[in-house]
Every structure is written in C-alpha cells, then in structure tokens.
Amino acid sequence: MLLPEIPYLPGIYTILGILALGVLILTILDRENYRWLISVLGELILLVTLAYVIDLPAYNESYIAFDEFSRFMTFVFIISSMLIIMALHHELRDVPRYGLAVSLILAANIGMIMAAASLNLVYIVVGWELAGVSSYAVVAVRRRDPLAIEAAMKFFIVGSIGFGLSLFGISFIFGAVGTFSLPDIAGKLANSKYEYNLLYTGLVLLISGLGFKMAIVPFHVWIPDTYDGAPNSIASFLAAASKSMAFAVGLRIFYHGLYPVSDIWSPLFAVLAIITMTYANLAALAQTKMKRLLAWSSIAHAGYIILLFGAYGLSQRLIAGGLFHIFMHAVMKILAFVAAAYITVVIGSDLLNDYAGIGRTQKIVSFFLTVDLLAMAGIPPLGGFWSKYLLFLGVVETGYVWLALIAVINSAISLYYYARIIKLMYFDVGKGSEATVAGPRIYLVPVILSGLLIMAVGIYPDPLINYLLKISP
C-alpha cells in the first residue's frame, strides 16, 4: 500500500478524480510565469496517479473493470505522459497557454484510461472521444503557426470522421445484438443470437473508425502531416499514448466482446496488417524529413501490432507480445521524437541529410537515438526486439506462420531506413558536424530515461514478460 485508500471512491474513480482535479488546478494556474510550477505539478499528479495504479486491487464491475489489462494500459499512458511533459516544458516555451497544454494532456489521460477500462461500448466511446478532443486541441496549441493549425484541422476532421464511423458501427452492432455490454455481446454472439448483416456492416465500420486512430493503411493519410505539423512532443504523445489507446480499445472490443465471430474480423485485420506494414515500410524508405520518417515508422509498427487481431487465436504469447510491443512502441517513439526535437534545435533543421555528422558533435543524444533506432528495427538484445519477438512468436503459435514471415521480412526492410540515419549521423559529414553547441538539456532527460528503459528491458525482459503473460484483456 503506497498511498492511503480513499473511502467511497473505489478503484478507477480515484485515478480519474485525481486527474480531473489536476486538469482543474492546471487550468487555473495557467500563467506565463508559472511554467515550472505547472510542469512539476503535472508530473506530480501523474506520479500520484501512477502510485494508485500500481496499488489498486483489481476489481470488475459490469461496465468498467480495473483488471490487470487496464492497469498495464494505464501504466503505459501515464509513463508516456510523464516523459512527454518533460519535453513539452521546453518545447512549448513560446506558447503562452502552457498550463492548458498540460491540462489537456491530463484530460486526454482521463479519456484514455476510461476507454481502456470500460466493458461497455458506450463508455468506451465516451472515453475515446474525451481523449480525442483533448488531443485535437493540444495539437493546435501553437495557435499562430499555420502548419500546426493545418495539422490540427486535418487531425480533427479525420478524427471526427473516424469517430463518427465507429459510432455508426457501434449502433449497427447494437442493432445486431441488442446490447452495449461487451460480455453480453460475447454471450449473444456465442449463441448465434444476432443479425448477420447488421453485425457485419457494424464491424466493418467499427474497424474503419478504429483504423483512423490506430493509423493503419488506408486510414493513415493524416498521420504524416499531423505529426509533421505538431510540436515534436505532441506528435510523440499522439504516437505513444493516443495510439496505444486505440489498440487497448481494439483489444477490449475484439477480445472481450466480439471474439465469437473472430472468423469475420480476423481476416480483415490480417489483410490490413500486411498492407499497413508493407506500404508504410516502403514509404518510409523515401522520406527525407525525420518526423515524417518517424510517422511512417509508427504506421509500420501499427501494422505489426494489429497482428494481434489478424492472427487471432488462443495464444497467451500473442497478447503478451502485443501489449509488450504497444508499450515499447510508445517508449521508442517518445525517445525518437524528443531526440529529433533536440537535434532540430541544434542544427536548425529536421531534414535527415542535415543529421550528417551529428554523431561526433552531439554524443549523448546520438547514442540514445542510435539505440532507439536499433530497437525499432528489432536488433537484439534491446527492448524493441523482445516485444517483436514475442509478438511474432504468438503469431506463429496461432498458426499464421506466413503472416509472421511477412512481418519478419518487413522488419528486415525497416532496418534499412533506420540504419541509414545511423550511417548519416556517424559516417557522413554535413551540417551536424558543425553543431557543437549543446541543445536544451531538459530534452535529454526523457531521452536518457527512455533509452535506459529500452536497454534495461532488453537485457532483462523476463519479469515484464512473465507479468504480461498473465494478462488477458
């Protein structure tokens, strides 16, 4: 027991309450000269939440459940947000309403935690939209920057369409089975008490809606532009937390409610996974800007993660691997985006060619970025390798050897564009070679922390794997 139990506020409401309080305080404190206070308070609130998350006993109500799955996902959201706020503190120094940005991130956390913990489609949708609205706003936090506004508009429109589609899909599903509760849906589907056509339409719509949020091809078009236009740390928030929520929601809906009809949705996801990873990896090869490359790499990783649904079957390792990769993807993307932010400050450009020679001038950031790129490519023994390994192991276990093979080939292709950055940083001479002035130190904190996490998990992943193997959504 880390913290006193608050009476009358069971389980997840404690967490949501603390976060809501945080949102309130930070909105009130939103002054130019309170920047440090805001950051520290934001971190503290998240830290307290984290303590509760670790501490709370698991429980299960009919519509909301704080089980090990929600605990893990909440953990991922909060760790990501904590890392991101450190970077935000510096990156948004030109933005007057900084407190608002942090409070929006906390608000998004409320939505994400709720969406991941709900067992009822309506609750899921409410949480999802809360997270969505907060993140649209936070992308537009630089109100005067036309690029940021474009990014936010694109994100908003596409996000709303996605949301609308899934809402539409959910109503079809309701029409097919007559309930919003996931366990009840599972029961009805198992007894074949449903309208096939309604269900099928609903499923396709729901998958498209989720696809926008998960960033899978062909619902990915907004991703490169939005990531490119948003401030780096916000982009990493979208890639790390917001996307993880989409996967969590997907896991809940498909593994908790719709699993009896897995023969309908699983092939759809399998096809989407193949298209997503292949297309994204090929597109990433041609990128010249770091942020766009990271956006495409994030899409490719979404392709690996939706193997969770594409290779549906009874394998604990598949779920564990998927969750592990969601977590690792979040950490890796945060590191990469923040490191990119640092390097952008140092060399004044986001073009990959300008990274040339930075390995010799900015040693710390280059080292951790290299570790991160290798982890994303799946080089052992780094965290990104084990998660991919476990995920692909699960895919083979459920009998989709060919799917695993395609994923492995894709993984091999991805090594090329990651290694190209490493080569540029260390072997070439260019703008980076002259960047001898140190960048903002505070960016190094999340970079080093997540880098150490990736390495630690890489060297000794067993406790985490064992924990994940016990989780079922």
Binding site: R317, I379, P380, P381, W386, Y389, L390, L393, V396, A412, F427, Y460, P461, D462, I465, N466, L469
Partner: protein
C-alpha cells in the same frame, strides 16, 4: 590447479567491461587507452591460458562433458538461458581468440586516429568473438554472432583503407544475410522442439535432440540454410567475395582478427551446430560439400597466384585453407575432423602473422604491392625472416603448424572417398606454388625502392615472435593441440556413423 568460480564468464565479459573504460581514459590520454587495452587483453589471455591448463591437467580433455559451465535462466518464458561452457574444441578457439586479440592489439601501434574509440571497439569485438565460442544457448550464440558484426563494421569503415566504406558495408550485408538465413533454421528447430519436447528452449543439446528426429528432406533444407549462413563466414567460394575486400581495406590488426578468428566462426558453426543437428543431411550431402571444399582450395589457390597486393594474396590463401576445413569437417572420420579443427587454429596463427607483416610493409614502405616491396631483405631483415617463416608455414611445410592439418585432412579424405579425391594433394602443391613465388619475389626479388625504410619495432617483434614460436611448436609437437581436439572430434565424427 583449479579454475576460479565464474572464470569463464570473467574471460568472456572482461573486455566488454573494459571497453567503456578504454574509451573514457582514451579521451584524456591516447597512450593510456592503448596500454589499457593491451593490459586487458593480456589479462584475458592469461586467464584463458589458465583455464586451458586447468582443462588439460584436470583430465577434462578425455570427456565430452562441458567444463566451467555457467548456466542461469535469462528469459525462461521463451526458453533463453545464459549457458556458457567449453569443451576441448571451444577451449582452443577461446585460446586462439585471446592470443590473436593480444597480438593484434600490440600490433595496433600504427593506429593514430581516434584511438580511444578504436580500442573500445576492439575490446567489444574480443568479447563477442569469445562469446560465439562459449555459448551453448543458441540465442546467446546468435546475439554474439551478430554482435561481432557491429564493432567489425566500424573498425573497417572508420580505420580502413581507401575503399573502406564499400568493403565494410559489403561485409556487413553478406554476413548479415547469412545469419538471417541461419536464424530461420534455428527457429524452425525451435518450433520443432516445442512440438516434440513440449518445452521452450534454445539449449543447443535439447535442440540437437529435437532436430535429429526430423525427416531427412527437412533436415537437408535446414542443413543447407545453416550451411549458407556459416559458409558465408567461412567463406565458401560463391560467397567469398566480401573477404578479399574486407581484408584488404581493414587495418592490419583487424585483418588478423578477420582471418584468424572471424572465419573460424563459420567452421565452428558447421562442426558444432550444423552437423550435430542434422547428421543425416550432413552424411547425405557430404560428397557435395567435399566438392565445395575442393573448389575452394583450387579456385582460391589459382586466384592467389596472380595477386599483386600482398594482403589480397594472403586473403585468397585464407580461402584456400578454409577449403581444407570444409573438406575435413565432412570426412566423417576422426582424423579429418581433428585436422579441420587443427587447421582452424593453425591457420589463425599463420595468417595472423602474415597479415601483420603485410601491415608492416604498408606502414614502413607505404605500399603492399609486391613489385614495390620486392628485395627489401637487406633493409628489413627481420620482416623478411618472419615473412619467410609465415610463408613456409602457409604453404604447409612439414614441421610447421599447417602441415599437420593438411596432412590429416587429405589423408582422411582419401580414406573416406578413395583415390577419386586424391587430386586434392595438388591443392597443396598450388599453395606451395603461389607462396613460394610470393616469397621469392618479395624477399629475393630485385630491389625497386631506393628510399630508407625502418625494420620492425619492439612491439612488433614481441608480437610476431610469440606467434612464430606457437607455429613452430604446433608443427613439431601436435599433441599439445590434439589433446584438446581428439574427444570433440570423435564426438562429431560419430554423427556420420549413425
């Protein structure tokens, strides 16, 4: 005499732990980094030698049981453990790695550019090389196998010759593709082990047990995959083109490691993993593999004949010698396998010496082309003397290390396949031909260069004498090594009998 607890782990990890220290103290003083690396390699060598002596004196040479085993669960949820140990075969490979690392690090006195990074990478390389030879968990083995590529890539790409980037990337791509092919095979066996034994494991012996139960056709495919993976490292002839480039472009001490230890990883993999896992396939394919070995011997021999660059010549002689290793490993005969292993060790020493000498020519005469370095005997008597010894050893002169191996392999090849393969003897003649010709041109040729050149300096003399003594010792008294090799070689040859 007894080994300290975890001594093998210390031998394995010491260079890696020392590597960041070498980097840090190197930023303060360049000389310090070099001395530190020398001391660490020396300690590592002494510890390995101590292990070797314990191994011998405790009578472990007669047992196929692994010695000095350190075994912990690492990631039990997917069956990966930290499992290291040595048998006679691994023991001598560890000794070879530490001997050559020490010699190479001593001979790195021509490296003056970012020395701290050089020595840090060098020590990292040493750990990964030793790791390959002591891991008995295939996953660990694979990590070390891949880890070798990283420092090696940088060492070639940063400190190499004019075409270093091309050579480094070529080396990287070739060997990486090979290891991925190899990995597919590993994983297939891993699945098989899950199905057959019901456990997740990467333990080599368990996997061998599972793989032995596979049908012949499957075994053949998997064996070929492994053989390609290991064969690229050996290298076998169609996949050998990375080697001359890498050797020529790499700085000489790194060429020593490349030729001396890196190539042995391929032979080690074939003997340790490929044959025990798929004995039926090995038996089935033995004749074809023998032919590949013979092609290696002759092709590389002929190509070596017309090389003008000393390093390239030695590189091709390496390929030719590796052909003997490949031939020996599939004879299915204790002597042949023992000869192959003996060749791996002896070739490491001899070619190590020759590459170091090539480096001396490069740095003292500023050229490696035979016409430019011809006739320097009077000005560089010691260098020439060592070159003659190295060259004679390389051509298989009786009384020097390589002869023993060549003799054993050719003998057992003939005893296995009859006189149809006796023409391999001409491979030895070919070896003699290009080596003698090279010696004649370099040592006794007309002097072209008029400039003043220096002879060997002290660290070089120490390093070269050390290797030369070993070469002679192993040539006149093979039991030193044979004691270690005999039991593992018997065990490997057994697979062909079943």
């Amino acid at each position: 005499m007894e080994a300290f607890p975890y001594e093998l782990s210390v031998v394995l990890w010491l260079p890696l732990l020392a590597s960041p220290i070498a980097y840090i103290i190197g930023t303060a003083s360049r000389k310090a980094s070099r001395w530190f690396a020398i001391v660490v390699s020396f300690i590592d060598f002494v510890l390995a030698l101590h292990l070797g002596l314990v191994f011998w004196s405790s009578g472990a040479t007669g047992s196929i049981e692994l010695q000095f085993v350190d075994k912990f669960d690492w990631i039990p949820s997917v069956g990966i453990s930290y499992y290291i140990g040595v048998d006679g075969f691994s023991m001598i490979m560890v000794l070879l790695s530490t001997i050559l690392s020490l010699s190479a690090v001593i001979a790195s006195n021509h490296i003056h550019d970012s020395e701290h990074l050089y020595y840090a990478l060098f020590l990292l390389l040493e750990t990964s090389l030793i790791g390959v030879f002591v891991s008995f968990d295939l996953f660990l083995f694979y990590i070390f196998w891949e880890l070798v590529l990283v420092p090696m890539y940088f060492l070639i790409a940063v400190w190499g010759g004019p075409r270093r980037k091309y050579a480094a990337i070529k080396f990287f791509i070739y060997t990486h593709v090979g290891s991925v092919i190899m990995l597919i095979s590993f994983f297939y066996v891993y699945w098989q082990a899950i199905a057959l034994l019901g456990i997740y494991t990467f333990n080599l012996f368990q996997l061998i047990k599972a793989a032995n139960q596979l049908a012949l056709t499957v075994q053949i495919y998997l064996f070929i995959a492994l053989f390609i993976g290991f064969g690229i490292k050996v290298p076998i002839v169609p996949f050998h083109t990375w080697l001359p480039d890498a050797h020529v472009e790499a700085p000489s001490p790194i060429s020593v490691i490349l030729a001396g230890v890196l190539l042995k990883m391929g032979g080690y993999g074939i003997l340790r993993i490929a044959i025990p896992m798929f004995p039926a396939a090995a038996k089935f394919l033995a004749w074809y593999i023998a032919i590949i070995g013979v092609i290696n011997i002759f092709y590389a021999g002929f190509v070596a004949m017309w090389q003008l660059d000393v390093k390239r010549l030695i590189a091709y002689s390496s390929i030719s010698h590796m052909g003997i290793v490949v031939l020996g490993s599939v004879t299915g005969n204790v002597l042949g396998v023992a000869g192959a292993i003996y060749m791996m060790f002896a070739h490491g020493l001899v070619n190590g010496l020759l590459f170091l000498l090539a480096g001396v020519y490069k740095h003292h005469v500023h050229s490696r082309l035979i016409p430019d370095i011809a006739g320097l005997t009077e000005k560089m008597p010691l260098t020439s003397a060592f070159f003659v010894i190295g060259g004679f050893a390389g051509l298989g002169l009786p009384g020097l290390a390589i002869f023993v191996a060549e003799f054993l392999v050719i003998l057992s090849a003939i005893s296995t396949w009859g006189l149809s393969i006796a023409y391999v003897v001409f491979g030895a003649v070919l070896n003699a031909a290009y080596m003698l010709w090279a010696i004649q041109r370099i040592v006794f040729g007309p002097q072209r260069s008029e400039e003043e050149v220096k002879d060997l300096c002290k660290p070089e003399i120490i390093s070269f004498s050390f290797l030369t003594i070993l070469i002679v010792l192993l040539g006149v008294y093979p039991p030193i090594l044979m004691n270690f090799i005999a039991t593992p070689a018997t065990a490997i040859a057994q697979y062909f009998l079943s």
